[in-house]
Symmetry: D2
Subunit: 137 residues, 4 copies
């Protein structure tokens, strides 16, 4: 299934995700999966993946999922629970799915797992807000 | 006032904060201030600072604030509200302060502002968890 | 399937749930369903179910779900999104399910719906904490 | 200082707060204080104030604070950390204050304390949403 056009364009311009090595694996119908390897330059002072790095892989999956319907949508906020530390070299996979949508708002669940053993690293819940107009309209 | 020893060591080893150009400005007694410039490689597909980047500058301030008492403490979770987009070149300042501490847990508030006009970019609330032993003990 | 013994005892002693007319419908294996009618004495100044009332029906479902494994567990915190107002006379159903469990902690999702049309009223995510010993042990 | 007119009317019609014995102590300029005694019919199965009851006293303070500017405003969501249990007979005081306001949204902090010793019982952060028109306008 092809990546929705709005999301493909968004990811092509997403310099931050590129910097962090976040790739989009799949995206359709309110769902998205991203993937990222925890590099040496992504750990914090306790030698675990920095909270912001774990948040980022989830946030990109969330952004792709909530833009998958073809209308420009941004993050209004999020809640994250850090379940287990991720380490250097771990490959993280973030799976996002719409939970409920109402008006111009939406609630999305994203689970971040370590690819090797599917162990949960973080549970993220994002709140989205659709902006009035798609870009260029 | 000197940076607490545990925090100084933690920041020296924090490769992720270094990658993102996050610097620690002050830190003492449950408070910390960090600073970061939104670089070209930190924006998302809508040309705003990526949510994970905004989260990161807050998360590092939070980590420094909750380790400032000299005991190894990690993030258990966080809630963030994205108030206004940050743009390329914006200098962001994150100010963290302990709100309440109980047992081995704590609640910290972090406000991320644009330095130029003090406009609020995000409100972050972190939940901390003190680990049993400092490393090496 | 019978209600787990710990949960049955807990609900028998739960005066607050009784006051609010919250009944436990089912409970087993990290899941629970509660039910409550929005009475005239449960609306706020805008004639909608008070936020605390909506939270309560979700919180009781959460408490039953996280105690269903037979070990005394309490709420550490929760995040709630109010999706749509509930009105006088609406019957609300809260469906709780464990999302992830780790150490003595757990993350539970609870969706509150209007029974009549299954419309979502609120999305609640609870964080649980298992206490060391069951009472009396 | 008199209670703002919109808030006074709202509280007069707030049957749920009356049911729970929640009184409004003060309210002005984005701030509000409420007060409630934990009655025998408000405890849960572990003989602590039910989470929904603690949430309610905070939620009413939040509602009054965010309506204090004279425009009809509702809760969009909230995050709560349960810091310490409240017991039968405890008098709880919830102090709400606006943290930041932007567009039609706001972020409010509410701390719930036991009146006797000012011990923190819960930290609540509410997200508000101003509706388009005041009722009747």
């Amino acid at each position: 299934m092809p990546i929705p056009e709005l999301v493909a364009g968004m990811m092509a311009a997403d310099a931050a995700s590129r910097t962090l090595g976040i790739e989009l694996v799949t995206c359709a119908d309110g769902q998205a999966v991203t993937r990222m390897t925890v590099r040496d330059d992504m750990v914090n002072g306790y030698d675990m993946a920095h909270g912001g790095v774990v948040f980022s892989v989830a946030d990109t999956a969330f952004a792709c999922a909530c833009n998958s319907f073809g209308e420009q949508t941004v993050a209004a906020g999020a809640e994250v629970v850090f379940v287990a530390p991720a380490r250097r070299g771990d490959v993280l996979v973030a799976e996002a799915a719409v939970r409920t949508a109402f008006g111009r708002s939406g609630v999305y669940d994203v689970t971040v797992r370590r690819e090797a053993d599917r162990a949960v690293v973080a549970e993220f819940r994002g709140r989205s807000h659709r902006v009035h107009r798609a870009p260029g309209s």
